[in-house]
């Protein structure tokens, strides 16, 4: 009797369970939705764009999912599955090589008319093995700013800045001469490397990479000795090996020159600084250190095809992200320099953003992830660049010897990375 009762209960329980479970099963995302993933800044701003105009692709609803940070977005992208993955990711250009290699991103072909609306080097950033994986959205770059309360004349060479620092270090209580406030000691500091003679890769005048040549470590190492070290071969304090405290010190008036990012210009304007943006002046007057200009992209994923929304996602990329109207609408909220040429001349673009643009046009080079992420030389650019500053400015190692190691690493990475372009 008891067994019967138990069996009945078992049947009832399972029946209830199945019915309840099935009734709760979520319906898969409708195939008429295009799912876009973005970080904590871009997500809400894109949502505003979509709220104002939702018909970027006729018959489709654009759904924006915002993540709490750029890192959280990256982690979600790494863990995405066919079912949960987005159709489009607003991501960094250096996600392209690994995303494409792993089959997470899908290529897109643009018409000549759409291509003409962007700088060719921006497509370089979002390409892997000759295929384009997204639309350039906003430009990330850095530029040097100087404090006009301290420095009255614009520096024309690296030496000008060092001379000023040495002359005023004690009198004005300077904590450093030049520091990197935005972009870190690898990406943000490339302008300083380049100003002293070390470029991650050299470009020809036609905009292609010069594979036959790399930087001269003796010239660079000796420039470091001349400008950044004292007679005891220790750091002279002009250029700190770390970006810690740089922004605060510059804002406090204890550092006269700083490399800042174009995403944070408003902080400096709010403190009364003039946007006298310029590239880092080179060792020879009239030359400048080349700074990376990269783009964030709206990247097409391979999940879109699995969701049955690939054509729609491609249409959204073209209609919203690659159009003047779309980029203007987005940058009205996001306030970064847009990548699209029509949007660049729009009135929504601030003078500060234009200042970054002119600095980039004077001394900018494309950020080529295939070279910079490559670690065939023993370390990637991202790891080796800050390691050089630490080795020379903190550990007191020989600037020329370390420069030779750096040159060897970068050269190997560029040659090896060539296959990924």
């Amino acid at each position: 009797m008891r067994n019967r009762k138990s069996l009945k209960a078992l049947a009832v329980s399972l029946a209830l369970a199945v019915s309840f479970g099935v009734s709760l099963t979520p319906v898969h995302a409708a195939s008429t939705e295009i799912l876009v993933w973005a970080d904590e800044n871009r997500g809400p701003n894109l949502s505003k764009v979509i709220a104002a105009k939702g018909d970027w692709v006729a018959g489709y609803k654009v759904v924006i999912r915002t993540f709490s940070s750029f890192d959280a977005l990256k982690a979600a992208v790494d863990a995405a599955t066919d079912l949960t993955g987005p159709d489009i990711i607003i991501g960094a250009n250096d996600w392209v090589p690994t995303g494409a290699k792993s089959g997470k991103l899908a290529p897109i072909t643009l018409t000549a008319a759409v291509k003409a609306q962007f700088n060719a080097s921006q497509f370089f950033d979002l390409s892997y093995k000759g295929k384009l994986y997204g639309i350039p959205l906003d430009i990330n770059n850095v530029a040097m700013i100087y404090n006009t309360k301290l420095v009255t004349t614009k520096p024309t060479s690296f030496g000008d800045m060092v001379t000023y620092y040495k002359a005023n270090k004690v009198a004005k209580g300077l904590k450093a001469g030049l520091c990197v406030a935005g972009g870190g000691m690898s990406w943000g500091a490339h302008g300083v490397f380049s100003a002293l003679g070390a470029d991650a890769y050299l470009m020809k005048k036609d905009g292609t990479v010069n594979y036959g040549q790399s930087f001269n470590p003796s010239v660079f190492g000796n420039n470091v000795k001349t400008y950044l070290l004292d007679s005891n071969k220790k750091s002279n304090g002009f250029f700190p090996a770390t970006d810690t405290g740089c922004k605060d010190n510059f804002l406090a008036g204890t550092v006269p020159f700083a490399v800042i990012g174009n995403w944070e210009w408003a902080d400096y304007v709010a403190k009364g600084f003039t946007m006298n943006l310029m590239p880092v002046p080179g060792a020879t007057a009239g030359t400048y250190g080349k700074m990376f200009g990269s783009v964030n992209g709206a990247l097409l994923t391979s999940y879109a095809a699995k969701h049955g929304s690939e054509a729609a996602a491609k249409s959204l990329l073209v209609n919203l992200f690659a159009s003047t109207a779309g980029q203007v609408a987005y940058q009205t909220y996001e306030k970064r320099p847009p990548a699209e040429k029509g949007a660049q001349s729009s009135s929504v673009i601030s003078d500060a953003q234009k200042g970054f643009g002119s600095s980039a046009s004077l001394a900018g080079i494309p950020q080529i992830g295939a070279f910079l992420n490559n670690n065939k030389g023993g370390a990637s650019y991202w790891d080796s660049a800050p390691a050089y500053w630490t080795a020379v400015l903190v550990d007191g190692k020989d600037a020329v010897k370390e420069a030779r190691k750096l040159a060897a690493i970068w050269k190997t990475n560029v040659i090896s990375g060539q296959a990924d372009l």
């Binding site: 479970g21 709760l24 054509a311 073209v318």
Partner: protein, 513 residues
């Protein structure tokens, strides 16, 4: 009350509760099946059946109590170990994440190339003669117009078409455009469609309004499980490591690859690949030094304080409370604060000492800093357990020894310490195992550094095995999860062996081991 728990109402409530739990689990199982995680899905279904069987029958009363614990043990301890063990035998890294079937699909999709001039067309998707899927294509520069179905192309004259302001054809004879609602439903089909252009080239959609001209570059030879380059004839075969590789040039592989079993290759790399082996040995030695030093210093300091405060002194309670504070504070916060205190330029430690030490740039200082911070985090625990253990040692033993003429030092070394060690051995071993895998401290304090990157160092001077493993798995653009899993398995075996040895040696838990 007893009647309530045994009556019909109780039984009904049990059935309802089980149903709800089962329903939620079935929901999870369905989600797992939806994501093609069949093992997880089947496991959850088995858990549901097991739960209903356990709680609705009287097959085993003890099982009713053990069942949740058993399930959590299986799901969150055994399963991750099995998964890690399995993945350690796979080529599972950047470029080799997906399954083979998916990889073949993606290679086929990527194996197309545009024509030399990168031709694109404005298109309208629709039907030809009312039934056949087709596109109405316009090349506004060359003034070329055509309708293409899957099998044919029909060139059109502009005069026969209705053109919009951009000279794009919007209407053509025998062609009916699809409505927006129809387009949305046909996305999956349209995205994979290839509309005829020539015998070599086809038009594929790049959105609903644009088509591009492509030709196939690689053919999949299913009977041979290989790809062939149509123009060069090169054959790409499964290399047994998760990639199709060129037979004549094995380093040339097609991307993406897939997760493929490579059996013990990840393990052999640990011993045979000098790039992995050499840093691993250095890291292993430092891990042992770090774990032993951390346990010894924390235990010694904790015991010292416990001995000092074991005697009645004024304000003992206040001292005890203060000593427990580092333990009460979240360790993440403590580590970050210590990190700031060790900062070369602004840190409190350099300012107090009047030095300018680059704590995290020097190998020796960084290691000292790591052990000091771990001492701060660890001594309150040992103070607490030592205090408890000291009170458990009968005072008569000390008194008897004192009467026999033993000095306080002799009493401590011959009586108190051996007894303490006997009581605390399991805790010391557990602490060693914990510090062996103390990822948070290393990651937050030094990030594993300092590291001579320019000299080719892969591991940092303070990297311990677990932080080194993390770096291999997630620390760079090329993630090698298979190799990281192999190192994790080795760590697991090491910690398990050392712990087991320690437990056996100390003769505690004899009835369990």
């Amino acid at each position: 009350m007893v009647a309530f728990f045994r009556g019909k109402l109780a039984f009904t409530l049990k059935v309802i509760l089980l149903s709800i739990i089962s329903a939620l689990l079935i929901l999870l199982a369905l989600s797992a099946f939806g994501q093609k995680q069949y093992v997880i899905g089947i496991f959850i279904i088995l858990v549901v059946f097991g739960a209903n069987f356990t709680y609705l029958t009287k097959v085993s009363i003890p099982l009713k109590f053990f069942y949740p614990g058993l399930i959590f043990l299986l799901g969150f301890v055994v399963a991750p170990i099995v998964f890690t063990l399995t993945m350690s035998t796979y080529n599972y890294k950047t470029g080799n994440y997906i399954g083979k079937t998916e990889a073949i699909t993606q290679i086929q999709k990527l194996a197309i190339e545009p024509d030399a001039s990168g031709s694109t067309f404005d298109i309208i998707v629709g039907k030809y003669n009312g039934s056949e899927s087709a596109i109405l294509a316009s090349d506004t520069v060359k003034k070329q117009y055509f309708i293409a179905t899957y099998k044919e192309r029909f060139d059109l004259n502009a005069a026969d078409l209705k053109l919009n302001q951009y000279q794009v054809a919007t209407q053509a004879p025998n062609f009916t455009a699809l409505a927006d609602s129809e387009l949305a439903g046909a996305d999956k089909l349209l995205s994979t469609s290839r509309f005829f252009y020539t015998s070599e080239y086809f038009v594929a959609l790049e959105g609903f309004d644009v088509g591009a001209l492509y030709r196939q570059k690689l053919n999949f030879l299913s009977e041979r499980d290989a790809f062939q380059n149509i123009s060069t004839g090169a054959i790409y075969e499964d290399n047994g490591k998760g990639n199709y590789a060129n037979l004549d040039l094995p380093t040339e592989i097609l991307e993406p690859g897939w997760r493929a079993p490579i059996w013990f290759e990840n393990y052999s790399k640990l011993f045979l690949d000098p790039k992995v082996r050499e840093p691993l040995i250095r890291v292993f030695i430092w891990t042992i030094v770090f774990a032993v030093s951390s346990v010894l210093t924390s235990f010694a300091f904790g015991l010292l304080l416990a001995l000092a405060l074991n005697k009645p002194i004024r304000g003992r309670r206040i001292y005890r409370s203060i000593l427990i504070l580092p333990y009460a504070m979240p360790s993440v916060m403590s580590i970050l604060i210590w990190g700031g205190m060790f900062n070369t330029e602004f840190g409190a430690i350099n300012q107090l000492l009047g030095t300018n030490i680059a704590w995290f740039q020097s190998v020796t200082f960084a290691r000292v800093a790591v052990i000091v911070v771990n001492l701060w985090l660890g001594f309150p625990y040992f103070y607490l357990v030592s205090s408890g253990a000291l009170q458990a040692i009968p005072s008569e033993l000390n008194e008897a020894a004192a009467i026999d003429g033993a000095t306080p030092r002799q009493i401590f070394s011959k009586i108190t310490l051996p007894l303490l060690l006997r009581i605390l051995s399991p805790l010391l071993i557990a602490s060693f195992a914990f510090n062996f895998n103390n990822f948070n401290l290393i990651y937050l304090l030094t990030g594993g550094g300092p590291k001579s990157t320019l000299d080719g160092d892969i591991a940092g001077a303070t990297d311990i095995l677990i932080s080194y493993t993390y770096q291999i798995a997630f620390g760079s653009f090329t993630q090698d999860l298979g190799l990281a899993s192999a190192i994790s398995v080795v760590i697991f075996l090491l910690v398990a062996s050392i712990s087991l040895y320690g437990i056996r040696k100390s003769k505690v838990l004899e009835s369990f081991v």
